[in-house]
Amino acid sequence: MSDRHDISPQTKETIIDVIAESIRRKSQAGQLASENEIYQELLKHDILKGDSEESQHLFKEILEETLNRYKDLEKLPDRGEGPRFYSSQFMTESYTRILLQKETNLLLLIAEVVRESSAVYPRPVSVDLFGDSPFNLTQSELQGYLRQMAGEEGIQGYHADDNFGRKRISLFLATP
């Protein structure tokens, strides 16, 4: 439609709608939205054209405006791969934490899940959990992480027991 700053108010509203819808749809599907993904969505809809600096600038401006307008749209801090966005209408903050940690440090994610389970519920954690979405780890991957975990600083070891076929793990955490 335009790669210039001077877009019509109607076009701007369309862009806002597409951005909001894009983030919400991703959240509903259990995914975080990146700037690039949202931008590609606008290109796909033929609302923005090209990858010029001007277009990018315009996009970021309107993205900020969209976030300010809709209270359910949240921006997560940039951890090196650009900021991520989600809709609190469809995704909880705790879920975003899992998704971010999954991208950066699986070992830490496992430890954090066990720690949170001990602190909040409290309860032991079934090994099976990590095979389910959103973790989606295979048994061998998980065993590898658990072995690795035993040598990590702050984690003294782990114990897995079998109760009617359901393995549960307990982490023995070093005192901070």
Partner: protein
Amino acid sequence: MRGLQDVPKGVSLGDVVFRFTEEQGDEVFPLRREAKMRGGLPRICSNLRILAGSHRDGTTPRCTNRCPAAWKGCSLHRLSQEVERRMWNMAKHGGWAGKVLRIDLSTGRISTEDTVEKYKDVLGGTGLGYEVLWEEVAPGTKPLDPANKIAFGTGPLAGTGAPCNGRTAITTLWPTCWPKPLVASGHMGGQFAAELKYAGYDGIIIEGKADRPVYVSIMDKKVEIKDARHLRGQGIRRTTVELSQQFGPEVCVAAIGQAGENLIPMSVVMNAYSHSAGGVGAVMGSKNLKAIAVHGTGSVKIAGKKEEWEKLVKLHLSLLGANNQHVVPSSPQPWAEYYSPGSRWKGSRGNKWGASEPAIDTGICDPHDLNTIAYRTNNAAFYLGDIAWKYTVRGNGCTGCPIRCHTMIKVPSVAAKYGIPEVGMNTCGGLNFGRSFFRKFPDGARGMTSMEACMVGMHMSDDYGLWCNYSQLQRDFIKLYETGIIKNKLGEKEFNSYSWDKYEKGDPSFLFELLPRIALKQGELGTVLGLGTGYMLEAWSLSEEEWKKDHRLSYWKMGHPKHHASEEVGQCGVIINTQYNRDPQCHSHCNFTRNGLPLEVQKRLAAEIWGTPDAVDALGSYTPMNIGKVRMAKWSLIRKELHDSLSLCNWMGPWVASPLKERGYHGDDSMESMLYSQATGDPKGREELDQVGERIFLLHRALTIRDMGTKEMSTRHDTVPEWVYDDPEKRPAYTKGTTRLDRDDVKVAMGMFYEEMGWDKTTGAPKAETYRRLGLAKVAEELGKKGLLG
């Protein structure tokens, strides 16, 4: 939408026009209440009431005669009397079908009695059963005597659109209750309760004994006792098919298999392929009653307004979690603030019903989407692990229940390998029936062999009609085998007739050797296992005390195991497990503590329900007894009896927590009373209905005391097994990591419970004033004469 709500027809309460006389016949009317009607009807005569309002011609009815002396000459008075009678008929028939069937198999006499007049104070279900046993079955009667009776009881919510309304309570003297059979109930889901209601009946009381095998057919008002000799020796499946072919596909058949026919105490009655009530098969067998086939073309009427009823049902649906009212998913979901790996809410994106065509992804299961409630629960995956998803066809279940806890699995390989159908379904103990006999499988506890054992066990036990006694049968078997008792007790010939090498290897085909012999009472081992734990111990001169010490056995008392006791809900679980004459089948307490919400949230909810956050502890981090735990125990028992008497499923409720963040995870503690009031038109608040639940529970207590012939309940009945006070790692009670309890503290707990219930603190026998307070003065009088009051 059958059974949901019939639109009122031909009746307007503000309009004294009687159009409902002939056109409706005996059909049950829905009652539509108008504003200000609840407080009673305006009186125009000194002793009669008549509706306010006008005739169609605009005149207002007035009684000008001097009533009541001249009432016979007063047409308006007669009119008012007719209105009142009709009004009462309408009112009393909301929810209830109106009649209870009584079938005397000795004489062939079939009669009916008015449900509301006779059983309204105990609602139906277990309440009806306890009432029948109290009034009609003399102490000392044995379970298999013709004088024993079986009460199939449904409640006023059966067959309505209320969620989870499919339960039938079957009450009788319990054949596995040891050393003396006492009253107990089995509960089956399925479609039986609704069909019975649609046929016009709230319950069936079976008495006497037929002189030959018979079955009962109930086709609406046509009730017959029919020859069942052609069904003798058939399994439940064949019996069901035969009767379904005869009466049509909509008929619901509750049948016993060979186990029941052979008077095996460990036997069930089953309807709708997989829904069984344990323990009563032999009692039916003793009466030569093979099956009950029922089909109704009527409906259940709702007293409340259609819109309000539908709103209430929708509210109830919105509060549902998964099976066991687990209100958080088992794995993180985008919408979920919390999750719990122990939850039965297994639905998740990527978890597919793989044997469905096409495969169905259960998705994120947003709790606001009421059309995907059935995707949440997969009990095959809960027990068997992820391998089960591939073989899952769908969930199946009871009338009006969206939870669908009977997971249907299709395992094609078992057809050729074992000669059994490739599709099977069941839940919990039924699903695990075959698997639970084994100590190990070649490919692990959650491998393919384990699943095959489930399939073999399900098909065999559900056809023979065998009962697992909450898997005590399997635990007993393992104990007997491991300790060498089986080898010692059996002759060499019989012992060697079993392929123990198959058993050791975890080969499911071993079940083909064991299960038929239990059902057909063949050999020493088969016969003894079919007796139930208590009588098995007696037959083989084994010590019950030994069973009570062993953690792994989970044995509690009187021939039955624990059912969600101290290992899940501390002292509250102990109290509940002391109260019944079989495993208590109560889930009210554990469905709260194991609902998956964080302890902090549970404590917040607990404070509102039971007055203190201390009512709940973290699992394995117990605290000493307190008043909140007593209140929770009392509430749990009352709700269990209410559910069993209303036909709601206690395995799915109560609904005091919900998956809804916007509600602060609150459910609604008044759900039962709201459903009851709207359905029946008998307005009762939560506390008032709880009193009815307490009355029903108290009647069970009275029956137990009367038939035991002692009031020393605390020492003779409400006993606690030793394993509760032990810890395999010898950790002290009330330290982190153990569910061990302290003996003195449990004694305190029982005393507090007795006091809260209005029972004698020492003996545990209810006091006369407690019976009177709950409307059971006659019961108190009878027990008083026998010196059995607290």
